[in-house]
Subunit: 248 residues, 2 copies
């Protein structure tokens, strides 16, 4: 099993698509004494991170829960899953006041908010009859480096609940949340509103972009034949990468 | 929307099931001058964390990818999704050598390995006609506090690849991974084996255990009627909690 870049495969395929021999442009660059076009950053390798911003936004908004990752004073990481709103600049979530992650944010407001979708693991022989290293996993992951602001203000909490409900329950079917309604008094004093201002973002869409288009098409076929619960979704995600290359 | 414990609901329903008036056993305990049975730990409230160990094991082994959470020297958290093996005492994953998470583990071998399954968000009116706070989210999450050991040894890497393949590709269809096979030489020198020894574990199965059995049964019906992609899985998970209480 191999997680990460797959050597020259992705580049070579792109060169071939443009009618050049494999590695032609890279070796020409070397002959000219130019540095490699981009420094190798392995986990966030270009082939997986070069995702159009509008697709990242679409994906983030399609996710029902996100993961807040905080770090305690002693360096221990903590994680929790939360429903969220997102406006492109900040996330909003709420936690129970006594939650350890609220204590973490009091010490260290810098944190991560992450959304991901596990799509599939595939056997190596879908790609190569012998090479086990071709076994891999597909997923979409976006990580936001955030600065948290925590508020226990009742009016702010009620307003935040209304924004969360507007996302998850737009059809209504509830009494508006206000700070003074006795129905909500207890709950509001039990929770804390957290606003996560986004400082930067990294996406990793690991969707076989390192494989030539015909290999990807074959994987799509195999996923559809196998038909595990997420395989159709994985096939659609790989097909999206094929369509993206056709647009370039 | 409310994430967290829901007050006395869960306890009361359990007492009622045993033919006692709501809160009967708790108040009897108070009359006898005994402390509450367990201290309140909010995010890991008993009602969500009291999951049989064999069910936690089953869930962890059913997941295809897990999340490694590491903390950099400057306190920044990092996260990556990986295929894994798990033997009940340790996880095994592999990363690219130059990955920032390998640098993190060099500084701070303590880390988290997490698996989760997002099941559903539900509207409040499935539970109450007025109270918006009843809107919630269901998920299963298990977090492992781990100590990492990193190895770049070729023989160890090859052996680890074989263990990963035994899990994900038991049907074979590849040439055995050995440190000397030229087919694998490059890849093996590109990756690092990580072993994560489990020090402790916390589970949060948030599956409406805070609701009386009849309310849970109604949510199960509504999930099946709604029929989003994960709703059947969510309905099965809530049904499991109903069956668990019947066993007690």
């Amino acid at each position: 099993m191999r997680d990460g870049p797959q050597g020259p495969g992705g580049r070579a395929s792109r060169s071939r698509r443009r009618g050049e021999p494999a590695k032609g442009r890279a070796s020409r660059r070397r002959r000219r004494g130019e540095p490699a076009k981009r420094a190798a950053r392995v986990i966030f390798h270009d082939v997986y991170t070069n995702v159009p911003p509008e697709e990242i936004e679409r994906f983030v908004r399609s996710q029902e829960l996100g993961r807040l990752v905080t770090v305690a004073a002693d360096g221990t990481p903590h994680l929790g899953l939360y429903p969220f709103t997102y406006d492109g600049a900040a996330f909003e979530i709420h936690l129970v006041r006594s939650d350890e992650q609220i204590a973490d944010l009091g010490v260290r407001p810098r944190c991560m908010f992450e959304v991901d979708e596990v799509l599939a693991t595939i056997p190596s022989y879908w790609v190569d009859p012998e090479n086990a290293i071709m076994a891999t996993a597909y997923h979409r992951t976006v990580m936001f480096d955030c600065e948290a602001t925590v508020s226990g203000d009742a009016a702010e909490l009620a307003a935040q609940q209304m924004r969360l409900l507007a996302r998850y329950q737009p059809e209504g079917g509830f009494r508006p949340v206000t700070p003074d309604d006795p129905l909500y008094h207890g709950a509001i004093h039990h929770i804390t509103a957290v606003r996560l201002d986004v400082r930067s973002r990294r996406a990793k869409f690991k969707l076989a972009q390192n494989r030539p288009l015909d290999a990807r098409a074959k994987i799509v076929d195999e996923l559809r034949k196998r038909g595990r619960p997420n395989d159709e979704r994985a096939a659609a995600a790989l097909t999206w990468t094929i369509e993206q290359e056709a647009k370039r």
